[in-house]
């Protein structure tokens, strides 16, 4: 399996503040990866380092086998929709498409027009008069028309109403079927991501806390409930992520290493939102694979 993105010990520091720290992850090609975490966790910083807009202070990053910021050949292969979907307000939609054509070698103008029309947007409309949902659709059409191998979307859903969110995700998934891109999508609307994404990265307090295939993560976590007790070792449990007690009952959110047969516990499957919230609630708990790039741990001086 080839990785579209590999990061090892990646960090970005501004004076004495780390915006992102010790970030190691690997996103296989063809995945739709959710990048989630509270505001200020470093999601935007990570996306900007993947595009090469920001240079890392520490660690290494490889995108489509190249080093962002050093290899100009990388940019044509990346589609990036920045937060707040910047558009030129006085330009028409058609002028945006023309701008895209002139700026990009691998430009698919038919695809861009077809997508904009399918979203019911008139080409002669000025970008400033578009609704939030329409603006997002235009930005997505522009990014997809580049025919990128990697599509990075920074909080594309944040300002959209539920209908526009759904339409955006429908258009995005159709685009993925047509183009086979790897997608990294940052958001804090976990419920919207559950059906769309197959890979998860949780950033919190500027570190990677969870990374992996969503299916594997859900299969390897369980909620155990039983009569209140002191919890020692439970057969089949690798780590207890979260432990809560009432006067009668003990509840564990656990990462498992096998089946749990102890009849004293009633075992339930977990959802994506539960999993993310359990980890975010316990900042010291992690669920990470081993990184492939050697983490030197030394800072890169620039």
């Amino acid at each position: 399996m080839t990785a579209a993105v590999i990061a090892a010990g990646l960090g970005k520091r501004y004076r004495d503040h780390w915006a992102l720290r010790d970030c190691s992850l690997e996103i296989p090609e063809g995945r739709v990866a959710a990048l989630v975490g509270p505001n200020g966790a470093g999601k935007t910083t990570l996306l900007h380092m993947l595009t090469g807009l920001l240079r890392p202070t520490a660690g290494q990053v490889s995108v489509l086998g190249r080093t962002p910021g050093e290899d100009p050949g990388l940019l044509p292969h990346i589609g990036f929709v920045a937060q707040d979907v910047p558009v030129y307000r006085s330009f028409t939609v058609a002028e945006h498409l023309e701008f895209g054509r002139r700026m990009n070698k691998r430009w698919d103008g038919d695809l861009a027009r077809a997508r904009v029309e399918r979203a019911g947007i008139a080409l002669d409309q000025r970008a400033g008069s578009l609704s939030g949902g329409e603006r997002a659709q235009v930005a997505l059409a522009l990014a997809l028309a580049k025919r990128p191998d990697l599509l990075l979307l920074d909080e594309p859903l944040a300002s959209l109403d539920p209908l526009a969110r759904r339409e955006f995700l429908q258009a995005l998934m159709e685009g993925v079927v047509e183009g086979g891109h790897t997608v990294v999508l940052s958001s804090h609307l976990i419920a919207d991501l559950e059906r769309v994404c197959d890979h998860l990265i949780v950033l919190s307090a500027s570190r990677t806390q969870v990374a992996g295939e969503i299916e594997d993560l859900l299969a390897s976590h369980r909620i155990l409930t039983g009569p209140r007790r002191e919890v020692g070792r439970v057969a089949g449990v690798a780590t207890i992520v979260q432990e809560t007690h009432t006067d009668r009952q003990t509840t564990l959110f656990a990462r498992t290493s096998g089946s749990i047969h102890d009849p004293a516990w009633s075992v339930q499957e977990v959802g994506l939102e539960e999993l993310v919230l359990a980890y975010l609630g316990q900042p010291n708990a992690t669920a990470l694979p081993r990184p492939r790039l050697a983490n030197t741990g030394t800072e890169v001086s620039r």
Binding site: L169, Q170, M173, E174, V176, V177, R195, V196
Partner: protein, 130 residues
């Protein structure tokens, strides 16, 4: 052509919901041998779900022998698939409706009916009928 719908509260994973809905449609005769399933692009375009989820569901249905993928064309219900004949099906359905009317008239509620159904199913399974 059938259209899938997802129940977010069912707790059943998305790919299994698709598998169940195809099986259900075949059983009820809404999908017949030779019929095409919606393409992956059509499904993700209407449900806003990950394409791999649809592929996984279709692979499982293919593995079960219910459908076959024709490369570059689509996924089709296999010829060998046959549910009960529709006439027989309708008669059974009328019998069930009559039974349900009788059960509700006797004062049972939905929960009672389900419990009774489950108990009978259990007995039939033990007898090796179901």
């Amino acid at each position: 052509m059938i259209q899938f719908r997802l129940d977010a509260r069912s707790g059943v994973s998305t790919y299994l919901q698709i598998v169940h809905q195809v099986r259900h449609a075949v059983r009820l005769g809404m999908l017949r041998p030779g019929d095409q399933l919606p393409t992956v692009k059509e499904v993700v375009g209407s449900l806003a779900i990950n394409p791999n989820t649809v592929l996984k569901a279709y692979r499982e249905l293919e593995h079960d022998g219910l459908v076959e993928g024709r490369p570059g064309v689509g996924t089709f219900v296999r010829d060998s698939v046959g549910g009960p004949p529709p006439s027989n099906h309708a008669a059974l359905r009328r019998g069930l409706d009559r039974w349900l009317h009788a059960a509700f008239a006797a004062g049972l509620d939905v929960e009672d009916v389900r419990a009774l159904f489950e108990t009978s199913m259990q007995d039939l399974r033990e007898e090796g009928v179901a």
